[in-house]
Amino acid sequence: MSSQDKSEVPEEHLPEVPASAHVPAESDPFADPGLPAHEPRRTDIDEKAANRAERQVAFLFVISMLATIGFIWSYVGIDKDRIIDIFFFGKIGAQNAALGGTLGIALFCIGAGAIHWARTLMTDEEIVQERHEFTSDPETREYAIREFTQGASDSVIGRRPLIRRTMIGAMALVPLSGVVLLRDLGPMPGTKLRHTEWKPGKELINEATGLPIKPDDIVKGSLTMALPEGLVEKYGPAGQKEELSHGWLEKAGMSAILLVRLEPKDVKSKKELAWGHEGIVAYSKICTHVGCPIGLYEQQTHHLLCPCHQSTFDLADDGKVVFGPAARSLPQLKIHVNEAGNLAASQDFAEPVGASFWERG
């Protein structure tokens, strides 16, 4: 298929060179040039080349058969847990690799064989097949128009305007029923998006230990994830992790906060310091852009970066957005120290947490 040198082909077998492949009419440069004259391939004129092409196609099909047998053997013969180390691919499952490889070879060789067959042995003579006319013949058209006007006059729609107008009205109103059905998409959210599980006096619970947090626990440069009390039972003293109760994820997802301790002199906002405790501040862990959990805290810059779209908030400046698509500051949770010496929330978040929604304003 590849060899192009004509020396192998006996000269007498070569066809005549076509005298004029296509000659554009001089008068009309846009005239249909017609098809170029057909040129035979080597396999069309040389029996040996044709036989070689046949063997090549058959060879590809045989490879495909062997690969299919290999596929079946891989499924039966290779332990599914066996791991092999292959350069570039790393440690991979032996059976997985063998199944994929053999099936890939089997399918590719069928396709490659078929294409090679078509390119070398099947005829490549261009055949022109004219399209038929799209329009119907005049008699049929005339018959259809006659039938239609006859039906229209039989229906008396032209003479009875009451029927005509009410029918149009009825058909115009029907789609409204679909609009009413949109009501069934779900209950209205109400004020659910504006409140979290934080209530005045609720203690902050360390998500890692399940215990209340003392101000001294939070050292400068550290990062602590916390939830309101009542949501961290899965780390309870019994050590038994309960099944996630219904709605737990939703509640924890809205109420999650992170705690950091900042140097009070670094904090630019007085309100932020007043809402914290000796430089310890609590912020919502939910990005105000589209609500990703946000936690890439850089302790030297006090910046908090969202992994989804790189919104960056400055925790030393009221959680203001310093970079990225988020439009609102990160909500801060007002905290204080209760009688037991533990950190507790003074109130719920002052604004809705998480992604913006249309009534948020």
Partner: protein
């Protein structure tokens, strides 16, 4: 007794008594003195002294002569031995050049020198100590470790510890091939922009669980599908598919549609 009392006035009697007394005192001292502690104190102070020398020649340019810090480096008072051990044994310190972040490189100091440097910095102020082998041995609760890792670490280091980008050229490094001791020390001390997870908020056992999870995920877990692609998820896989697989398909399409070679080429 008579013999003894008769000789008590002998001119040499006082000397003999003095010798006995000295021998007894010396013997008792030798028997009861806390000899080992004295030695340890000694070697510790020697280490501090040696560490100070290393510090003055290698670190003080940036961190200041008294480790009080400067515009080029943070103060080291109170960072503890664990921070020094982490920074110096992973080659991050001494810093090669100023930049967004100190990268990992071959370490410059020998383990003995690192020990001396740690001892010196630890003597400047109370800070986290170097963890013992038992504290970071990867035999903790892997399930708990996975949960803690997802909550506290995965946002920067990726779910499987492959690392990720931060702002302005900073990055969270991959955790593959990191010594368990260094993972533990990083959590304890919070190197560079990484926040710390002190024992008060993340107790020892939980750090051990996290180390266990990280070791299991980055070292032992095979990748049965092959080509982990950084385990960055569908984005990297999609990119690979579009560029490599689509390129191969285009190649096949070109072959299918190519003009067949003719017997007589012009």
């Amino acid at each position: 007794m008579k013999k003894l009392s008769a000789r008590r006035r002998h001119p040499l009697a006082a000397i003999v008594v003095l010798i006995f007394a000295l021998a007894a005192t010396g013997g008792l001292y030798a028997a009861f003195a806390p000899a080992k502690k004295a030695e340890a104190d000694d070697s510790a102070s020697i280490a501090v002294e040696a560490g100070k020398k290393l510090y003055l020649s290698g670190c003080s340019t940036c961190h200041g002569l008294d480790a009080q810090g400067s515009s080029d480096g943070p103060p080291l008072v109170g960072v503890g031995a664990a921070a020094v051990d982490f920074q110096v044994s992973t080659g991050r310190m001494p810093l090669q050049q100023p930049g967004a972040q100190a990268p990992r490189k071959p370490e410059v100091y020998t383990p003995a020198q690192i020990e001396q440097l740690s001892a010196y910095v630890a003597s400047l102020g109370v800070g986290p100590k170097i963890p013992t082998a038992n504290m970071y041995a990867p035999d903790g609760d892997i399930v708990n470790g996975a949960e803690l890792f997802r909550t506290n670490c995965s946002q920067c280091h990726n779910f499987s510890g492959e690392g990720g980008a931060l702002t302005q050229g900073k990055f969270a490094p991959p955790l593959k091939n990191v010594d368990p001791k260094h993972i533990y020390e990083a959590m304890l001390t919070g190197p560079q922009n990484m926040p710390s997870f002190p024992d008060s908020t993340m107790p020892e056992q939980q750090k051990k669980d996290i180390v266990t999870y990280v070791r299991e995920t980055t070292h032992k877990e095979p990748n049965p599908g092959g080509l982990g692609l950084g385990r960055l998820g569908p984005v990297s896989e999609g990119l690979f598919g579009w560029i490599i697989a689509l390129g191969l398909l285009i190649g096949c399409a070109i072959w299918i549609a190519a003009r067949t070679p003719k017997a007589r080429t012009k």
